[in-house]
Amino acid sequence: MSALEVSNLSINHGAIVAVRKLSFTVEKGQLAAIIGSNGAGKTTLLRALSGLIPASEGTATWKGKSLLGQKPENLVRSGVAHVSEGKSVIPELNVKENLALGGIWRKDKKDVAIATEEVLELFPRLRERLQQSADTLSGGERQMLAIGRALIARPDLLLLDEPSLGLAPLIIEQIFEAVNQLRHRLGLTVLLVEQNAMSALKIADVGIIINVGTLVTSGQSKELLADANLRAAYLGY
């Protein structure tokens, strides 16, 4: 049995079916990239997996337990962290407070401190800006902050929604490199949703390509990258 199993999942977005009978699996410790253009239903999928919106049919399980029908605040507590689209930080709070939110519900305060220290080591720029309001950060720094906050919860499944959105190529590379490092070091399973197919597939083990809410194909990312037809049709280069 795979660690993350999504089977026959459909999600409605108002009157529209945003995700239609989607099935895929991700093994423990893998990084899976979900690739698709704008409006392919990627964000909707992640929002359903983290409990923000309901699914209309199908199942989704993580380590045998259903992800559907649970509240996001409880899913986080069972190890599923979601970094939502658009640098999910709270601009009204400073960097330190944003990080603190990640561990606010955890009883083990010692480990929260350790996790925070690890994040600051991973993203040294955050340490320099601890007292600054998150509003003043650059796009890349915000993304680091959002990922960092998620890590302090010590998740084992990380859902990342378009971390590259609106960032310069160099920064994207840094962020992706950090994500790649992290999952090897922490044994994280990562579900990465991306429009930026090239960068995402480079670090991913498997790729899942969707279009208008339905599965196009999935497979080893190397193979996907090598498939000339796919590249032309869906990967856009």
Binding site: S50, L52, K71, P72, E73, V76, R77, A81, H82, V83, S84, S88, V89, I90, P91, E92, L93, E97, A100, L101, G102, I104, W105, R149, A150, A153
Partner: protein, 298 residues
């Protein structure tokens, strides 16, 4: 001398306005509703204090009961009524105004209930402190020990709130949940529960206002209605989103009122409040400390 007298009166009433404004802002920030029932909740908790005082004959003992009562009432209002409303009324022609209407209904409900229980007559909820002004030399200033306790009490509440918001995890969760509920949920904060706690804080602030100000006037089911209006005006002056703004708005309004009363006359009190409100809305639509985003898209 007259100037200082007026300032002192203004500070005392301003402190009460500030507490009420604080209560309104706390709820507004977390729920995006102006809680008109706040006046009702405060009156109910003040009646509770009144009953405790009748039993114990001690004003000071009654205050904590009023505060706890106010917090509990507010938690009940949010946990039961507002939650049901949010769940059910996201569609329909009334949906945009449903929360406001519900708080109005609640205000009416509490007024009628208190009227049924205690009658509409004016009751006395008295403080052992003198309502007579202090003497300075030959001059009696219009600032009594009760006024002093009003100012101290209000400052105490504000101090406690500030400390909670700034230094505790609860405060952090309260702030996060009111700014970005969705991100907060993803960070693991139980936003519903936190919001109810925010309401409880607001209820407590309103209860303090009621318990402190009532000895200077009288107690009846609608004796805090005008305070609701002043609190709202103060909150708007402060930008409706800012706790510090609410406090400053309250003090400014109190002092402003005092000077208008002193130098222009009592006949304009109401008009003054109304004109101040309109002026602020036109000239500084975000209040003196309001955050981003205009009032139109609020």
């Amino acid at each position: 001398m007259l100037f200082i007298d007026t300032l002192l009166i203004g500070l005392s009433s301003g402190a009460i306005y500030a507490l009420m404004a604080l209560a309104l802002v706390l709820v507004w920030r977390s729920t995006r509703v102006v809680n008109f029932a706040q006046a009702g909740q405060a009156i109910l908790s003040t009646y509770l204090g009144y009953e405790v005082m009748n039993m114990t004959h001690n004003y000071w003992v009654s205050i904590p009961f009023a505060i706890l009562g106010g917090a509990a009432i507010a938690a009940f209002v949010d946990g039961v009524i507002m939650r049901a409303l949010v769940k059910r009324s996201h569609k329909g022609s009334v949906s945009e105004i449903a929360p406001v209407i519900a708080t109005l209904g609640l205000l009416g409900l509490i007024r009628s209930l208190t009227g049924m229980i205690w009658g509409n007559a004016y009751l006395q909820y008295t403080s052992p402190l003198s309502g007579k002004g202090y003497m300075i030399g030959q001059h009696t200033i219009p600032f009594s020990p009760q006024n002093l306790i009003i100012v101290i009490g209000a400052l105490l509440v504000m101090g406690v709130f500030a400390a909670i918001f700034k230094f505790t995890n609860l405060g952090l969760a309260l702030r996060a949940a009111s700014f970005q509920p969705e991100i907060s949920r993803l960070a693991g904060i139980r936003v519903d529960r936190i919001r109810t706690i925010g309401w409880a804080f607001a209820g407590a602030a309103g209860a303090v206002a009621g318990a402190l100000v009532t000895p200077t006037t009288y107690l009846s089911p609608n004796s805090l209605d005008l305070l609701l209006v002043s609190g709202f005006v103060a909150a708007v002056i402060g930008g409706l989103d800012s706790l510090i703004g609410a406090v400053l708005g309250g003090l400014l309004l109190g002092v402003g009122f005092a000077f208008i009363l002193q130098y222009i006359g009592t006949s304009v009190t109401f008009s003054a409040a109304f004109i101040i409100l309109i002026l602020v809305l036109f000239m500084r639509p975000r209040g003196i400390l309001g955050s981003k985003g205009g009032r139109r898209d609020a």
